[in-house]
Amino acid sequence: MRATVLVRPKQGILDPQGQAVESSLRHLGFEVGETRIGRLVDVDLPTDDAGEARAQLERMCEQLLANPLIESYEIAFEAST
């Protein structure tokens, strides 16, 4: 099954990329509030067991995909096609 991991800078962590994009959006005339930039990781897993997949993805996040000091993560599964 295919999963998507969203990694975000934690609340309160300075995000200069987000600030730069926010300011560019305003220059373009869009009315936007705080804009933050994270990372999206799509992962194919050789299992159809959502519980097992989630457990594995959590380990991946803790070990590599996110730095728990500065980033939070969220795991989502794609509806099977």
Binding site: P9, I13, L14, P16, A20, L64, N67, L69, I70
Partner: protein, 233 residues
Amino acid sequence: MSERPLIPVVVFPGSNDDRDAVRSLELLGARSMRVWHTETELPRGTAGVVLPGGFSYGDYLRCGAIARFSPVMRAVGAFAAAGGFVLGICNGFQILTEAGLLPGALRPNGSLSFVCRDTALTVVTSHSPLLGRCEPGQELTIPVKHGDGCWLADDDLYAELEARDQIAIRYAPGANPNGARADVAGVTNAEGNVFGLMPHPEHAVDPLLGPTDGALILGSLVDAARLSAAAPV
């Protein structure tokens, strides 16, 4: 015992300050050599290790995030756990934080610009042999060159580090090049045998390149390694 302690410099794919580090360590009285990241052991007689600046594994995901899993890092971790002296410079500092050997994390510079200039620093800690040649309050000038040098820690961690004297050096007031919390330019572990910093002491040893205060930092490592070489870990 050893007059010229052995201080290898690890080379990751993308390291580019390893040769300067080797040369500077040798100028300061150490024996040095480059060690490829696929090695599973440090050379026999290693009395200190440098993780150099540059890049590693493309720094995909986060700087240092992938390098921390390289084979040599297991040996570096074991060496550090046994009390061995480890110095991480710039990308080496990033790798040590990702590996959990040093506290905090390094994020993109607040300006989003790469900074490359001589920078005024103030020594803070008094407990680490890796700053043995410096006094607390001493001012140093050493160049920085990085895009991801914004050191961060949350309130609790920062308070802990300050209380334990683990803040090693700060940028001088007004000289913070990257937005790091409380102007932190380098930190040590609790025991003081692992030290990481964003500035590049290896570029500030030979007077040909400008300031020479880097010799105080690398010289401290050579001193510490020389003492520990009497009782190899």
